[in-house]
């Protein structure tokens, strides 16, 4: 922002935020000697000296003769221009300016305070020569004779926006210089702003086609540029039209959602590890990895936070653990997946946590303004300066974490595994195939969009992975200093012997042959951008660079059948950038290699060809080459600088939608086919083969899953039953038992193959029929079906026959272990009586929670058992209500589980015991005594009511057997024995209730009472007990003839009371 304040000529204050490039100081950067070199800067992100330093090497260039002529011409021209231009002081505030030792190509003027000179077409001198130069220069660009066409365009725009000085304007300020200039041919041509602008406008006119393919914002700036308007109204008009018809809006703000890599049982569960220990250690490593990642996210932008200092030791400890258990491959896969997950977007993450706007913000602004907000956010978040049109390779955003992680880990094993993993993924993505393109109707359009998205995703992932692969491959050779010639020769002799990790030369050749270079070249460029100083001179890489150079030269920009314009533009942009990377020697570009390779291209365009498909759009172009945005920034800063005349128009924020990338499409694995199948597929549309292969893969995999879920699960259940039987026998050897049971099951496991075959036979054809066009002929359909079934069966049965025994054993073992762990397992038989029940129909599952009920019952028990305070009572009505709620809770089975229900049952039995021994201090409250039988005290009648409720709950609501026999336990009978006034009538009532509700049989009760008599009770209690026993037997006999239980109770009570 500071720089913006330098503009003194603003006529009115503007509220907009100027996109002022934030300049990174680059005191250590040493420019490259190449005349088209870019400013090389220390990556601010890099905290690693070694890596940063190697990018600053100075090349002793060996320039060959080829193209020397053209080159010299250009050089002269540039010389002329630039001698007059700015002093080095101009560099810091204009980071986009390429710097060189002898001259700088910046055409802008050093001091910001200078007024922008008004360029005037009438003041142009030497028009003829300028025109000639413009033509020459344009041809060089058009024929790809310059190493980087965008660098040239950048230069042209610098000329267009040059501010000029009064001296330059007048052109005659210093006669001495003028004199000298005359010696240097044509120097005066570019002395005035008018001439510069004239030249620039001419070149732009010639390069109109490229320019018109740039993004809309750029076109807008050009279309509104006053200099173009005044120098070439026709170009102005064309640009205006191009702008108006352009739809190429670009947003570099892709939402970077930081997500974890999901756990996939197929690759991550125990069976993928050699031992339990390895599995558990990896479990920990995964958690530690994310912990590190979160720590980095929280802190990496804080000042003074140092990756190596804070995380270094943790990472190395992690590596040591991984090495101890050979878990590197698992971790490398996780690392790579996380890398793709976080870094495929251009911003590189950390900026926004997903694109769902805060609801508060949305309410405040409304959705209309939200897009504006987004744009504003983009201005803040997307780095304003990318450090010139050719920045050195860097690891922006989240990529930093991964690079620093690799460096801190410093683990050879990890690096090797990571390279393996990256290579595999690169090859997989590089094999991307798209469905063939038939531009027939609207539907194809939609398909095309999907294809484009798939392509973009694959391309971006490939570039990311290739960059990291390149980083790892060349890491050991990275050096701070450019090696001397001698060192270089010996290094070459050594390194020429080793094979590359990934054969990119072969892949490059293949891609050219198959016309898939639009996918392959961009990632190969990323890979090569990280070469060390020696590598480009190795025989192997020399060939690669030579081939790339050939591609570059031949890729003349025009719309043609072989390749769409933007596809070419992308390739040219990335290659141009590569040729400017500091460690890539510039002589590569200017040395014509005699051993030119002949391009072998397939005469017939194969189905896999991508080059001719218009896959690249501006969004992808700018995402891959964010440095192209520098062109626009240059124009924008000119507009900002030229004051009020243009001041307002940039305030508008053109809404752009951040395009989220579609989920990654999986590339189906190629399968080997028998010859007949090959022949069959040969004359069919490729989609047929893909469909069949896809179906085979899915059905095969589903088949295995199905067998696991049915047959294996069934066998495991049986094993469980068998084990449960046998494990109760004393002194069984668990391992032996397990082995025995498993062996028994293996035979039946063989059924898996039969069932698997059946499954594939049933499901395969169904899927094929659904997926193939309706019009497919019956014969083709049936062949496709049978091939799909065959492949699926092969896949599924192959796996099953190899693994079924191990699978059964593993599952049975796991079940067995779980079984042994269940608390109180040997008593399992005891609970077997438990009945399974469902909720009543229409249950809303809104009964009180069991936890609440049990808590309240516990409180009642607490009061009953004591100690209790003076006057503490339990309200009778409340207790009735509690039992009512208990009933509701038990009826809804949603939240009930057997063990807890058992506990609840126990509590209610306890409550009953306490009730009959008058331990519960019931408060009668307003309970009306009307209904109570005359001869019972009011208190007993309420206890009776509660007992009745309990009977019904025990009988009707519990899904488990209620341990009512606990009433006769010594402990519970002791309550009665200790009662001051024994409530025998209530106890009898309880006994009758138990029988009446079929909770216990008479004989059971009799025997319970009988055994109670044996215990050492106080003598009077034993007497009472015996009497009660007699009464009970008597009552029971009478009961058989009577029907009214209430009558009964009254009678019996009378008997007992009189006796006691």
């Amino acid at each position: 922002m500071g720089a913006a304040s330098g503009w003194t000529n603003k006529s009115k204050p503007s509220r907009r935020i100027n996109p002022t490039p934030v300049s990174a100081e680059r005191p250590l950067s040493k420019p490259k000697t190449c005349f088209t070199s870019t400013p090389v800067s220390r990556s601010p992100a890099s905290s690693f000296e070694a890596f940063a330093a190697v990018q600053e090497g100075n090349l002793s260039s060996v320039i060959s003769n080829s193209l020397q002529e053209e080159r010299e011409m250009l050089k002269k021209e540039r010389c002329k221009l630039l001698h007059q231009a700015s002093s080095p002081a101009g560099i810091p505030f204009d980071p986009c300016t390429p710097t060189k030792p002898s001259y700088t190509r910046s055409a802008s003027l050093p001091a910001e305070s200078h007024l922008v000179t008004c360029a005037n077409p009438a003041k142009v001198s030497c028009k003829k020569q300028l025109e000639c130069l413009a033509q020459l220069y344009s041809s060089c660009i058009a024929e790809n004779l310059v190493p980087n066409i965008f660098l040239e365009l950048f230069f042209v725009l610098q000329l267009l926006t040059s501010k000029g000085t009064s001296a330059a304007e007048d052109g005659d300020s210093d006669p001495e210089i003028s004199e000298r200039n005359r010696d240097v041919s044509g120097r005066q041509h570019f002395e005035s702003v008018h001439n510069c602008v004239y030249f620039a406008v001419r070149v732009l006119d010639y390069q109109y086609e490229i320019i018109s393919h740039l993004e809309k914002g750029m076109l807008k700036l050009l279309a509104e540029n006053e200099r173009i308007a005044s120098f070439s109204p026709t170009l102005h008009k064309r640009l205006r039209q191009a702008y108006e018809s352009s739809t190429a809006k670009v947003s570099l703000l892709l939402p970077c959602s930081v997500q974890s890599v999901s756990f996939q049982p197929e690759t991550d569960n125990r069976s993928n590890f050699p031992s339990d220990r390895a599995f558990h250690i990896f479990k920990k490593q995964r958690d530690i990895f994310y912990e590190l990642l979160r720590e980095w996210e929280d802190n990496n932008e804080k000042t003074g936070w140092d990756f190596e200092r804070v995380l270094g030791n943790k990472i190395r400890a992690m590596m040591a653990h991984l090495s101890a258990t050979c878990n590197h491959s698992h971790f490398a896969r996780l690392f790579q997946k996380q890398l793709i997950q976080m870094c495929k977007g251009p911003v590189g993450g950390g900026a926004s946590w997903g694109d769902t706007p805060d609801q508060d913000v949305l309410n405040m602004l409304g959705s209309d303004n939200l897009s504006r907000l987004k744009r504003l956010q983009e201005r803040f978040v997307v780095p304003q300066s990318i450090r010139g049109p050719c920045p050195p390779p860097s690891f922006p955003g989240c990529q930093q974490f991964f690079r620093d992680f690799i460096l801190s880990a410093g683990s050879y094993q990890f690096n090797q595994h990571l390279m393996d993993s990256l290579c595999l993924k690169i090859l997989e993505l590089n094999g991307l195939t798209l469905v063939e393109h038939e531009h027939s109707d609207g539907e194809a359009d939609m398909e095309e969009q999907d294809e484009k998205k798939r392509f973009a995703l694959a391309l971006l992932s490939l570039r990311l992975l290739a960059k990291f692969l390149g980083f790892l491959v060349f890491l050991p050779y990275r050096a701070a200093e450019q090696p001397t010639r001698d060192l270089q020769d010996s290094a070459l002799a050594l390194r020429n012997q080793t094979l590359p990790v990934l054969d990119i030369l072969k892949l490059l050749r293949q891609s050219i042959r198959d016309q898939r270079s639009i996918l392959t070249i961009p990632w190969i460029v990323e890979y090569l951008s990280l070469v060390d100083h020696i590598a480009p001179f190795l025989d192997y890489y020399r060939k690669v660079f030579g081939l790339l150079l050939q591609v570059y030269r031949l890729m003349v920009l025009s719309e043609d059948k072989e390749m769409s314009f933007l596809n070419k533009l992308l390739i040219l942009a990335v290659l141009g950038w590569l040729f400017q990377v500091p460690s890539v020697p510039e002589e590569l570009f200017f040395t014509a290699d005699d051993r030119q390779e002949r391009f072998v291209m397939d005469a017939v365009t194969s189905a896999q060809a991508l080059d001719f498909v218009p896959l690249v759009d501006q969004q992808l172009l700018y995402t891959c080459c964010p440095y192209l945005g520098e062109l626009r920034k240059l124009l924008a800063s000119f507009v900002a600088g030229s004051g009020g005349k243009n001041g307002g128009f940039m305030r508008k924020i053109t809404p752009t939608a951040a395009e989220s990338l579609a989920p990654k499409a999986s590339v189906t694995q190629r399968k080997l086919q028998v010859d007949l199948e090959q022949a069959f597929f040969h004359n069919q549309p490729p989609s047929l083969r893909r469909t069949v292969e896809f179906v085979a893969e899915r059905v095969g995999s589903n088949c295995v899953k199905h067998i696991k879920a049915t047959l294996v699960a069934e066998l495991v259940q049986r094993a469980e039953a068998m084990l449960q039987e046998k494990v109760k026998e004393e002194d069984v050897n668990h391992d032996k038992l397990l082995e025995e049971v498993c062996t028994h099951l293996y035979e039946e496991g063989a059924q898996a193959l039969i069932k698997g075959r059946e499954f594939c036979k049933k499901k395969g054809p169904e899927a094929v029929r659904v997926l193939l066009p309706e019009e497919t002929s019956a014969a083709v359909l049936s062949s496709a079906e049978s091939i799909a079934v065959e492949l699926a069966t092969e896949r599924a049965c192959g796996w099953l026959s190899a693994n079924i025994a191990a699978l059964i054993k593993r599952e049975v073992k796991a079940t067995f272990n779980r079984m042994l762990k269940v608390p109180g397992f040997p008593l399992a038989g005891e609970d077997a009586l438990e009945l399974r029940r469902d909720c009543p129909p229409g249950c809303q599952h809104c009964a009180p929670f069991p936890s609440q009920i049990i808590n309240e019952i516990k409180d009642v028990l607490c009061v009953a058992v004591g100690p209790r305070e003076e006057g503490e009572v339990v309200d009778c009505v409340w207790l009735e209500c509690l039992l009512g709620r208990l009933s509701q809770t038990l009826q809804c089975r949603k939240f009930i589980c057997p063990t807890s229900e058992q506990q609840l049952a126990k509590c209610t039995v306890e409550l009953a015991s306490l009730l009959v021994s008058d331990r519960v201090p019931l408060s009668l409250g307003i309970k009306s005594p009307e209904k109570s039988p005359e001869r019972l005290p009011v208190k007993n009648s309420s206890a009776c009511g509660l007992l009745k409720l309990l009977f019904s709950i025990w009988k009707e609501d519990f899904g488990t057997s209620v341990p009512v026999q606990l009433i006769f336990s010594k402990k519970n009978m002791a309550y009665l024995a200790e009662a001051k006034q024994r409530e025998w009538d209530l106890f009898l009532f309880l006994l009758h209730g138990l029988i009446e509700h079929e909770l216990m049989r008479t004989s059971e009760i009799q025997s319970c009472l009988h055994s109670l008599e044996e215990l050492p009770w106080p003598s009077d209690f034993v007497k009472d007990l015996k009497r009660l026993s007699r009464v009970f037997v008597l009552e029971h006999q009478i009961e058989e003839h009577r029907t009214n239980p209430c009558e009964l109770t009254r009678q019996s009570l009378a008997t007992v009371t009189t006796q006691s």
Partner: protein, 270 residues
């Protein structure tokens, strides 16, 4: 029930015994909080205290002293709450005191160290205890203890199993070989209050600072690392300030959420 950190601090500093009388006092002091929240916070704090002092009560001398005091106590008056008073006096959980004395009793009777299963079974059902007086005393202890004991365990179990109906439950997930498993995984993710969640973890406790940090470390982040963002339900509430990872993907609630948005099947729309 969300609780501000300040009031939690106040609450957790209460020095009380784990009895219903103590809870009543708490309720009077913090009328704004529900009984269950109070109990949960209190219980957690009390458990921390017990963890600190556990060893002290398990020395041979301590056990012997407790046992002798129990014997003397019941000799004087078997109906008095001897064990419960003893526990309160030495500041130890009644259920745990009951366990110590029961274990010591059985050891003397059987002349061997009794098995854990036997002890547990007797604590669950004191009528199995061969001595009637001790049975009563033990029962009195377990019923009165609001932080430990079989009844409390059972209550916790109920709460934890309260939302079993949702989806892929833990056991099934383990069967598939997941190394860390939340209570539930949503096969089709839903959005709760605008945040997408993939899993739900149910906690039958109050989410205080220390327990939440421990859970984050051992469980919640691990789930996030494997399944993405998720939801934690602290049925007894939590300290409000702890719900600070929403953006990153860990949501805290004290009840089952009502604002749930599910995925509309794209097939149905066509």
């Amino acid at each position: 029930m969300k609780l501000a950190r300040a009031s939690w601090n106040d609450l957790s500093r209460q020095q009380l015994m784990p009895t219903r009388q103590s809870l009543r006092k708490l309720k009077e002091k913090f009328p704004g909080q529900s009984q269950s929240t109070l109990l949960s916070i209190f219980s957690q704090e009390y458990q921390k205290q017990i963890k600190r002092t556990h060893a002290k009560h398990h020395t041979a001398e301590a056990i012997e002293t407790y046992y002798q005091r129990y014997l003397n106590g019941v000799m004087k008056n078997a109906a008095a709450p001897v064990l419960l008073d003893l526990a309160n006096e030495v500041d130890f959980a009644p259920s745990l005191m009951a366990r110590i004395v029961l274990e010591r009793f059985l050891q003397e009777k059987e002349q061997a160290i009794p098995s854990k299963t036997l002890i547990n079974s007797m604590l669950r059902d004191p009528s199995q205890i061969p001595d009637g007086v001790l049975a009563n005393q033990v029962y009195q202890c377990t019923v009165n203890d609001c932080c430990y004991g079989p009844l409390v365990d059972c209550i916790k179990h109920f709460i934890n199993s309260s939302s079993y109906f949702l989806c892929t439950a833990e056991d099934q997930l383990r069967a598939k070989g997941y190394d860390k498993t939340p209570d539930f995984i949503l096969e089709v993710p839903v959005a709760v209050e605008g945040h997408i969640i993939h899993w739900i973890e149910s906690k039958a406790s109050f989410g205080d600072e220390s327990s939440h940090q421990a859970h984050l470390q051992d469980q919640f982040w691990s789930y996030w690392n494997r399944f993405g963002p998720g939801l934690v339900i602290y049925w007894y509430g939590f300290i409000e300030e702890l719900d600070c990872h929403r953006e990153r993907g860990i949501l805290l609630k004290d009840c089952f959420p009502t604002d749930i948005v599910t995925l509309r099947h794209s097939m149905a729309q066509r």
